[in-house]
Structure formats: structure tokens, C-alpha cells
Amino acid sequence: MKLTSFAILFIVIILPFLFITGHQLTIINEDTMLRAYYDSVIDNAVQDAAFVISQNAKNFSYGSKSDTSAVKELAVQTFFDSLYHSFNVHENPASMTRVQFCAPVLIFIEEDGFSLYAINSYLNEKNYTVMKHCWFPKKHYIGELLEERYSVRYTLGNRVYVFDTVTSLFMEGEYTEFKDDISFFASRESFEVLRNNAIRQSIEREFALYIRKYNNLRHKSNFALELQFPVIDDEDWVRALNDVGLLVFAQGFPVLYGQKYEHYALGGARVIRKAPIVGYKYYDQPYYCRTSCNFYSDIIGEDSGNTIYFTHSVEAAKNGYYPCPYCRP
């Protein structure tokens, strides 16, 4: 055979392999892009919802008994509106339902509890089975029994509700008020560990229960998708446990290759941990800074008397206060 024949034979053998691997690579590449796109869309939508929550933040102040359901409703509505517009399917009911079922579980984290907004099935007044997102009852963050007698309900802040199972007494207050009774509350670190575990376990328990319910529904109504318990990073949990926010689990967007699409996104609204701005005078010069600033807490002290609080740095500057040169608020 001549050299060209060898070359052609070589090409005929190698070409299918090259073609197949090249095609697979292209698919994997496009799949990665698609997943990154879904991630960005969901993260964006959650941030929008968190923004709406922080805009309506006055309902979440400490100890207020005002109704938060309007804000919750608004937050989830914003989340879905943002998703619909991102996929350009607004006012297209079939596609909107498709998108809804890709975000089957939203967890709304409040200061003293959390509630699930998740797909549920019920009979409506005409005896049709309806499947749509519903609010589930609010659950509290309840931890393990401490000292074999105290059942503690935690909040996102320092406040705790303690039930003494021996004397049947119900108490509430800052955790430091209970440090004589409960040894774990003596230091801030051990309290934080207990609190984080309690919140995390309450949410996980509730979520696991819901997954079982959802997968039962799925068997009855032929969903293609089985909901799985997502793996959440520890850092994200710590982030979640510090503020009012929305935790969203998205699964089942169409992908091209490999594992099913699975993503969770967390939007913290920065309501509770929002550092207020404090103004003070130092050598007759007005300054403003955050209350967490070391210079402020060491030199001025919180109870020096001549301090003034602002809600925003703009407000402080409008009153002639300079930004603190140490913490640059």
C-alpha cells in the first residue's frame, strides 16, 4: 500500500474516536455553562427576596409581636417573580409551573422560628387534587434537654425561652440570665455552639420530614424527580443561622450530562445583626462609627453619656459627624 492509503486507513480508524470524545467534551462544557447559569439565576432571585425582607425589616424588630406573614408572602412572591422573568416565562402558566416545581422547598428563617414554603397536595372545594406551594406551620428552634431538666427554645439572637420540666416553670430572657442554672450558658462560645446546633438540627429534621412527604406525593402523581437531602457547607449554616433570610433548594432544572441539577441558595437579609451607627465626640470633634469598633468601645465606652445613635452613615454625615478613622464605617 502507498503512504496515502496508510494515512487514510489511520484517519478512518482514529476519526470515530476523535469525534466521540470531542462531542462528549462539548456536551460537558455546555452542561457546566448551563449549571453556572442556573446557579446565578437562583442566587439572584434569593438575593432579591432577601432585599425585600430587609426593606420591610421593621416588622422583625426584637420582641415585637407584629405579623410577619405579609413580608413572608412578599419575599416568596419576589423570589418567584424574579425566576419567571429570568427565564422569560412570566404570564406563561405552564412554564411558570415548571419553574415552581424546580424550587420545591423554600425555608423562611425568622428570628424565633422557621417555616417551610413547599409543594403540598390538597383537595379543593370542587374535590380536585391541587398541588402547589403552601406555607407549613412555623417551627421553633428547640435544642436538646440541658442538665436533664431544661428544655430550651433558641432564637437567632441572645434571647432564650427556657422550660423547666421539673418545676413546670416557663422563663424567658437573655442567655446570660440563666448561667447559674445552666452551666453551658456560662460562656458565649458554648452558648453559640448549642444554639447553632439546635437551629441546624431543627431545620434539618423538618426538612427531612418534608422530603419524605414530597417523595410520597411523587409516587402518587408521577413526578420525574426524587427530592434528595442536600449537603450544606458548615460555613453556609453559620451564615444562615445569624439572620432572617430565605433558604431555597432548587432541583431538577434540565441539564445535559451527569448528575441531576441540585443547588441551594441562601439570602440573608441583615436585619438582626445590622450594626447601628453611633456618633460621639472626641476632643470636641464629632465622629461616627460602628458599635463594634475597638476604638469606640475602649476609649469612649458605651455609657459615656454624650453618644447619639444613627440608623445609617448618611444620616450621621448629614449631622456633621466624621467617619471614624479606625474602623472606616
Binding site: T4, S40, T78
Partner: protein, 181 residues
């Protein structure tokens, strides 16, 4: 005679494999890079608009220049979805009666109106012509390539096909979070 056909066939095969296949490969990589650039720039532009609450002609021109630097031509669409809360009235015999309810309507404003505001023509060069959003509105930017990219053209030539779907398509944006004007 038989030998001649054999040579022609070998020549075509050589041309395809030595020239077109590597070219296609390079062009496809170029498309991937272009997609990444467009994706990043769209997100950057949309985020800038959402965080400030307005578009200025400079912002828009810079965005167009940046995505045009990839070497393709693009069709850019801007969507401003205005959320307005309107009361619901019902028609009764005595005229309109307020039902006590409201609904949120989403009104789509497309890029024509936005661009008319940004670039009103030569008579208005001195004016501060920026397009302003309301906090809570939605803003999206959608970019797709116009015509075919080089990679698509070469692939179509090899495979004798005619691809109509754009190879670069990005939609980015979300809710407007600020009114810094």
C-alpha cells in the same frame, strides 16, 4: 482514471482534516471565550444598573464596546419590567365600585423606549439623559449573536447544515435594589 479519483478523495480528506478540523476547533474555543466574556459583561452591566437604579449613556456604550470586543455582532435587548400596584374596581350598575383589593401588574418596557431616553438625538446633547428605574422593578439584559459566528459557519460548511439558533445567548438581571439619583 481510478487512481485520479483516489487522489481527489485523498485531497479532500486532507483539506478537511488538516485545515478545517483544527480551524473549527480553534473557532469553537473562541466562541467559548466570547460566551464567557458576554456572560460576565452582561452580569456586570445588569448589576451596575440594579445597584444604582439608572442607566446612563456612558454605561450602555461601555457595555456595548466591551461585548463588541469579542469580534462578533450582537443583538442586545433591554427589558425593564415596571411593577405597579393598582386597585381593583368592579363594574356595577351605579358605576365603578372599589373591591378593597389590589393587584401587582408587570408592565414591560422594551429597549426602544430606554434607548430613546438615553440617546434622544442631536438636539438634546446638553441634557442629562439617563433612564431611571424604580426600586423593586425588574431589569434584564438579553444578548444573542446576530447571524452566525465563525465556528457555526465552518461547522455548517462541513456538515452541510444550516444552524439558526444563536450560539451565544445570555440573559442576566434581576430586581432593582437602589435609587441612587
Amino acid at each position: 482514471m481510478e487512481n485520479l479519483w483516489w487522489k481527489v478523495f485523498a485531497l479532500i480528506l486532507c483539506a478537511t482534516l488538516l485545515f478545517l478540523a483544527p480551524l473549527l476547533n480553534i473557532l469553537e474555543r473562541q466562541d467559548d471565550i466570547a460566551y464567557n466574556v458576554v456572560f460576565a459583561e452582561c452580569n456586570r452591566f445588569a448589576d451596575a444598573c440594579r445597584d444604582t437604579g439608572y442607566i446612563t449613556p456612558n454605561m450602555y456604550q461601555e457595555f456595548v464596546e466591551r461585548i463588541n470586543s469579542t469580534g462578533n455582532t450582537y443583538e442586545i435587548k433591554l427589558f425593564h419590567i415596571n411593577r405597579t400596584v393598582i386597585p381593583v374596581y368592579t363594574q356595577t350598575e351605579g358605576g365603578l365600585t372599589f373591591t378593597g383589593e389590589y393587584e401587582v401588574s408587570h408592565i414591560l418596557i422594551d429597549e426602544k423606549e430606554i434607548l430613546d431616553t438615553l440617546f434622544p438625538g442631536e438636539d438634546h446633547l446638553e441634557e442629562l439623559n439617563r433612564y431611571e428605574f424604580k426600586m423593586g422593578d425588574f431589569f434584564f439584559v438579553e444578548v444573542k449573536n446576530r447571524g452566525k459566528t465563525m465556528a457555526t459557519a465552518v461547522r455548517d460548511m462541513i456538515l452541510f447544515s444550516d444552524t439558526q439558533t444563536p450560539s451565544i445567548f445570555v440573559r442576566a438581571g434581576g430586581m432593582v435594589r437602589n435609587e441612587a439619583y
